[in-house]
Amino acid sequence: MKECKIGVYVCNCGTNIAKVVNVEEVVESLGKMDGVVVARSYKYMCSNPGQEMIVQDIKNLGLNRVVVAACSPRMHEPTFRKALENAGINPYFLEMANIREQCSWVHDDAIEATEKARVLTSAAVRRVKYHEPLEKRSVPMCPATLVLGGGVAGLAAALELGDAGQQVYLVERENRLGGNVGRVDLTAPYLDSARDLLTEFITRANQNPKITVMIQSKLVELGGYVGNFQARVEDAQGDIIELAVGSVVVCTGYKEFDASRIKSLAYGWLPNVITSFELEGMIRKGKILTKEGNVPQYVALIHCVGSRSLEYHPYCSRVCCMTALKYAHEIKSAIPKSYVSDVYIDMHAFGKGCEDFYRRSTEAKTMFLMYEKGHPPRIREAGPDDDCGMFIWVKEQLSGEEIEIPADLVVLMVGMEPREDSEAVAHLVNISRDKHGWFIESHPKLDPVATTTDGVFIAGACSSPKDIPDTVAQARAAAARILAKIAKGEIWADAVYAEVDEDLCSGCRVCNELCPYTAVEYDKVKKRSHVIYAMCKACGACVAACPSGAIKARHFTDQQIFAQIEGVLPWHSNHVS
């Protein structure tokens, strides 16, 4: 092995690091380490001049290893790898020490934090000596895409890809396309026709020769890896169809909250307490009637049913406020003599045109009543002498009064929750879910449609509640990613993966079953196992398990980790009791 010439770069991160960690002390101490040629600090290592500093040192001092002590490698590892690449050395000769998130930001004591930063950085120095040059490799990209879910999100994604001339398989569980929007008549805030919107989408999808619509079908198995997935879809006849696809877009949507879970709202007990979707059906039919068949005089809308609640879902379902305002308008307009009350917590009228719609609704004399989060309204039956069917008890926040609202028809604005099958879908396509069951995006801000599994995207309300424009935007964002990959024609697999040293493998087959991606393949002839690198996600389960030590996790080798362990455990004299 060539002699290690290590450069150590400690970032101040403005004051993020420097205000707690004595950066200069770390630099000085690291500079004395074996193999370290240069140690420097800089205000922002990630900035162009900071990166340039590293590049210049590599060129001028012939560095062949770089240690950057800065923020989390999850943040800037790619940045500095790129810098190494620009300087002409292999990007994997980099190791980062996380002295911000795990040191300066979580510790106050300057002395201890400085010591910890020093130790973490020195461990990185020890580790980097064992780094090896790694190269990325590419695999071909299959241009077809599998879209799971035929709601607005799925249709938008499919159309975007199909119109671009790419093959799309649109798989829908139900016997019709359209999803939850298919149950809706008009959309807030402009009261455009949801039906026209869907008709247009569905017609275009059906007419597009590149889009294969498969209704009453479901994905049963997804194998392979980005660019080269093999999907097994069970169709309406129960036949299994094998599809080769390069990407998967998951648009499985949401289901509405089961209002009967909240006892105080009497859903399922009092006949005239209905959910928003039931009201939507009435509006579509033009018959807003109580169960007794009367035209209601008092209608009440209750917001946040199942949402923004401590017991059920803490999150806001995002669309219900506007939907409620829409209903208020629709009821008033269909039954001009009715009185509509709207019982809410905070009015989330945040979108374009929404505040205006809210104002219109107030002008139409909808009575807005505010209740406190955590103190949901209670519904009781009215007596025979009352002119209404029910009363809703609310501790009204804006007046401070305890009030009862007369109602003949109560509409519960049920929130959104993940579908029952979200866990199964997550397993099928290998993506994660958050604690509520929504699918997790790879980065909530900068990568809201990608997932941690390459080639699998999420769009629409399956990742969190959203309205139609946001859903459509997300679906297209997913399509953009896929189109970009298709345009390139190949996928570059990460350079970090596991590999089997066949000279050491005894074919014991402990590893085969362990790989969640079936990337470890057993060769029956050679009686050895080997890893398909493009499928490997570098988790290292097989590496740890291999009793022969025959599998190496590139970039996470035993040697590297041992060196790091040794590095973080310097032997203090004061430590021995």
Binding site: R74, K435, V496, L514, Y517, C539, V568, L569, W571, S577
Partner: protein, 144 residues
């Protein structure tokens, strides 16, 4: 000088390391006694690493992965869980105190919890006193 435990934390990249990062970004304060080594998945954590840390003088070893069901690699954390179960038995036979090695599930959103785990573990180990393994091995040699 008071005894300050040194804990080696093996954190999976996706949940726990991110969770520790979140503790950082949310400025959760926790004892500085933990030193974190990032691995891609808790399933990568070879029992050898834990033994290595213990024999090199770590007072505690923390293994963190995603909560069961949340593994980025589907079931890596279950693999870690099984290994940990057997390792625990083995360490018991080897006379290593229970609290020195700990397996915790920390999700990417549990920055605060990560801090609490560290604080709790540090406190427990502080009570336990230093890990004698390395010292004893040196003493063995000296006595021989």
């Amino acid at each position: 000088m008071a005894f300050e435990p040194r804990i080696v934390g093996f954190l999976c990249n996706w949940c726990s390391y991110t969770g520790a990062d979140l503790a950082g970004t949310s400025r959760v304060k926790y004892p500085f006694n933990v030193r974190i080594i990032r691995v891609m998945c808790s399933a990568r954590i070879d029992p050898t690493f834990i033994l290595k840390a213990l024999s090199d003088g770590a007072d505690g070893v923390l293994v963190c992965g995603c909560h069961p069901g949340d593994c980025h690699y589907v079931e890596g954390n279950y693999k870690a869980m099984r290994r940990y179960a057997l390792l625990k038995k083995t360490l018991r036979s080897l006379g290593v105190e229970e609290d020195r090695v700990r397996l915790e599930w920390v999700s990417a959103s549990e920055g605060v919890r990560f801090g609490e785990v560290i604080a709790d573990m540090t406190e427990k180990i502080r009570k336990l006193g230093p890990n004698r393994i390395k010292a004893e091995l040196i003493l063995d040699k000296a006595e021989r």
